[in-house]
């Protein structure tokens, strides 16, 4: 048993953890069929860890949902599988390829797979009857996300209406829904990128190894370093070189860039993040560069 405290203060990381666990338990208690959206990135893995803690020693009382874009990093999928087997949770995979095959979404080669995630996700939510979907979104990521509530109401089309958001007072979350509607839940809303890294370090959490410095064959596109893969054919003038890199986010392999880095431990990553001059999305995510309101527009359609 630990020592009696004298100052009754919690560190900010402990406060964030306590708040997130409270949200996980509240949703599990009040919603009929929650699910945890899992991309395999560091935020979703921190979410898994928090869910594990919230219900320990019982198993996490809901499934995990992954939208398989067919363009995910193999290293990320391996990490996902290890987590799923360790926690003994049920994994639901909603595949874009299957959705195209089954005629649920159009096979439009010109539409980015990032956008096709939206109908695939919404279809999976509807088909499985999920009433709440946890997401690892953080308000520090993007200015449209800064406006997002912890409980984000979605109508029967999965749409977010920023003007119709419910006021969110104290820690009294309102989970009322009508038929066909669902709620997106963001338990780590108040965490920053640095908090996530601090927590990964403190909890010694296993994350995909692409976050750590490694040698990779890459080429330059739109000012970003992209990985060499048959999924992302080279365009004229693009040259592959081998560099020492790491990833700051895990997204679609054709849209997510890496950064040159020698950070090979969590501590070194934290040092790097603390002095980074660009946001993780601005530095490495092609999908956020479409317009001033790219994220807001996608969120309105049902993106998380």
């Amino acid at each position: 048993m630990t020592q009696t405290r004298t100052d009754y203060r919690l560190s900010q990381l402990d406060q964030l953890e306590a708040e997130s666990i409270h949200i996980f338990r509240e949703v599990a208690a009040e919603f009929e069929k929650p699910v945890l959206m899992f991309s395999g990135g560091k935020d979703s893995i921190v979410m898994l860890r928090l869910a594990e803690k919230a219900f320990f020693p019982a198993k996490i009382p809901f499934s995990i949902l992954q939208v398989d874009t067919g363009l995910d990093f193999p290293e990320v999928m391996e990490t996902r599988d290890r987590w799923v087997s360790r926690l003994g949770v049920n994994l639901v995979v909603a595949s874009i390829d299957d959705a195209i095959k089954n005629g649920i979404i159009p096979d439009a080669a010109k539409i980015s797979r990032n956008r096709l995630q939206i109908p695939t996700l919404l279809n999976a939510i509807e088909e499985n009857g999920f009433t709440a979907a946890f997401g690892g979104g953080r308000r520090d990521e993007e200015k449209a996300r800064a406006k997002e509530r912890v409980y984000s109401h979605r109508d029967e089309f999965g749409q977010w209406d920023p003007k119709m958001q419910r006021p969110e007072l104290w820690s009294l979350y309102n989970g009322r829904l009508h038929e066909g509607e669902h709620m997106r839940i963001f338990p780590i809303s108040n965490w920053t990128e640095l908090d996530v890294w601090d927590y990964i370090g403190r909890e010694n959490i296993e994350i995909p190894n692409i976050y750590f410095s490694h040698q990779r064959r890459v080429f330059e596109r739109d000012g970003m370093l992209m990985t060499e893969t048959p999924l992302n054919p080279l365009r004229d003038g693009e040259v592959v070189t081998e560099r020492t890199v790491r990833y700051r986010t895990c997204g679609d392999i054709t849209l997510t860039g890496c950064v040159e880095s020698t950070a090979s431990t969590i501590a070194e990553i934290i040092d790097e993040v603390a002095v980074a001059k660009k946001t993780e999305r601005g530095a490495t995510r092609g999908d956020d560069r479409f317009s001033e309101a790219a994220m807001e527009d996608r969120k309105k359609e049902g993106y998380f």
Binding site: T2, P57, A58, D140, P162, K163, L169, W170, L172, G282
Partner: protein, 426 residues
């Protein structure tokens, strides 16, 4: 100059939540922009995007409000509609800003931002002095029992850093504040635009000897604002693994709302009134010696008493009295008015029931603090004193004692929307 951005990764960093308020053109966005910029919470790509948009719009300056107004409709109208949450950190403290809109029609959003704040930051324009807005915001912050208030007298550069201007506003505000519940008040003369007394001490105001805004935010003591005397544990979720390894495990999970709970404590479970002793407290896989707010823990009792979500664990000789009659201040948040005899859903801690509006005692004019007893309804963004009768007994404390067990929300059962915020009198 600026803030040292060396990060403390020893996890002992502290957290301060503050809500900003103020009128439309008082320089709130500039101030927030400066706090974020100087603490390195704004990144190059974000700043470049704002600069590009400012140029495209034909401005000859970088409009920092574009950093904070995250929605398309906000940028179109050039106003802040909804609360936005922003983050920055210094070596000792992490800050969560609830950036709330100034317009009167968004009072509900200010209430939202203030509900979780440790500190309220009200900006006034030194040239204008106190306005209706600044008074209204101070009233709301005081109603919501935000324990620390800072009045930042901004745009001092436009009044030649005149001490008399500051003194007059100081005097007028402290006089007004005597009518409110403001336990801790700091009045700081600043210029958000030129950076005086924001992060760095101003050389233009040698007559001011108090702290800079950032110094105050970094050092204001918030840990003592919690109630560590009256033990309150709303049961949120019952953990029963039913696995071979944990066959008999039965834990009551929740977040401590008040007091310090320890194994061995004699406790009562409300509303049943059954008594038992705490046998063990778990924090994930760790067995801990005590739990205090805002820890999320799992409590075990010695006896196999019936405990479920919505119940509350408290000390035997210090427990709230279950009641179905609630007397509270309500902030009404929707266009259809609150009327007597109306029925609504109510959520208080982890307990949900229905409530009947018995009486609207008065409507509070948040500008003058006048109590209008003639009005028998509350309109959108209005605040009044209301009595309710609930279907289930609630385990309440006065809001002035405990912001968790003293607060509730009202929900319209037809639309599912949160329509009211309540603070229990006592």
């Amino acid at each position: 100059m600026g803030i040292d951005t060396t990060r403390d990764t020893t996890h002992r960093m502290d957290l301060l939540r503050f809500a900003t308020a103020g009128s439309v053109d008082d320089g709130k966005s500039t101030l927030i922009g400066r706090l974020l910029l100087d603490s390195k919470a704004i990144f190059e790509d974000q700043l470049e995007a704002v600069e590009a948009t400012s140029t495209a719009k034909g401005y000859d300056y970088t409009d920092l409000a574009l950093l904070t107004d995250g929605l398309r409709s906000e940028r179109e109208q050039g106003i802040t509609i909804d609360v936005a949450y922003r983050y920055f950190a210094t070596p000792n403290r992490k800050f969560i800003i609830a950036d709330t809109p100034g317009h009167v029609q968004y009072t509900r959003n200010m209430v939202t931002g203030a509900s979780t704040a440790d500190l309220g930051l009200v900006l006034v324009d030194a040239r204008q002095g106190l306005t209706e807005q600044s008074r209204r915001h101070a009233v709301i912050l005081s109603l919501l029992r935000v324990p620390h208030l800072v009045l930042a007298v901004n745009k001092m550069d436009l009044v030649d850093y005149d001490q008399k201007v500051y003194d007059d506003i100081y005097r007028e505000f402290t006089q007004f504040a005597t009518k409110l519940n403001v336990p801790d008040l700091e009045v700081i003369p600043i210029s958000a635009l030129s950076g005086d007394n924001v992060v760095n001490r101003s050389e233009n105001m040698p007559w001011y000897s108090g702290p800079t805004l950032m110094h105050h935010l970094e050092h204001v003591h918030v840990a003592s604002d919690r109630d560590l005397i009256d033990a309150r544990f709303p049961v949120q979720y019952v953990i029963r693994p039913k696995s071979d390894e944990y066959h008999d495990y039965r834990g009551y999970a929740g977040q401590v709302a008040g007091g310090v709970l320890k194994p061995g404590d004699e406790v009562v479970v409300l509303p049943s009134g059954m008594t038992s002793k705490i046998s063990k407290i778990d924090l994930f896989d760790e067995d801990i010696a005590e739990a205090f707010p805002p820890m999320s823990v799992t409590i075990h009792l010695e006896d196999d008493v019936d405990v479920s979500r919505g119940d509350m664990i408290a000390r035997v000789r210090n427990a709230p009295t279950p009641t179905q009659d609630i007397d509270a201040m309500i902030c009404w948040m929707t266009t259809a008015p609150l009327l007597p005899r109306q029925k609504l859903a109510i959520k208080h801690t982890t307990r949900t029931g229905r409530a009947l509006v018995k009486d609207i005692q008065y409507r509070l004019d948040v500008n003058t603090l006048h109590r209008d007893q003639e009005t028998k309804e509350l309109g959108v963004n209005e605040i009044g004193r209301v009595t309710l009768r609930t279907t289930v007994p609630l385990l309440v404390d006065p809001y002035s004692k405990n912001r968790t067990t003293g607060s509730f929300i009202l929900i319209d059962e037809a639309t599912g929307i949160t329509v009211g915020a309540g603070m229990i009198n006592g």
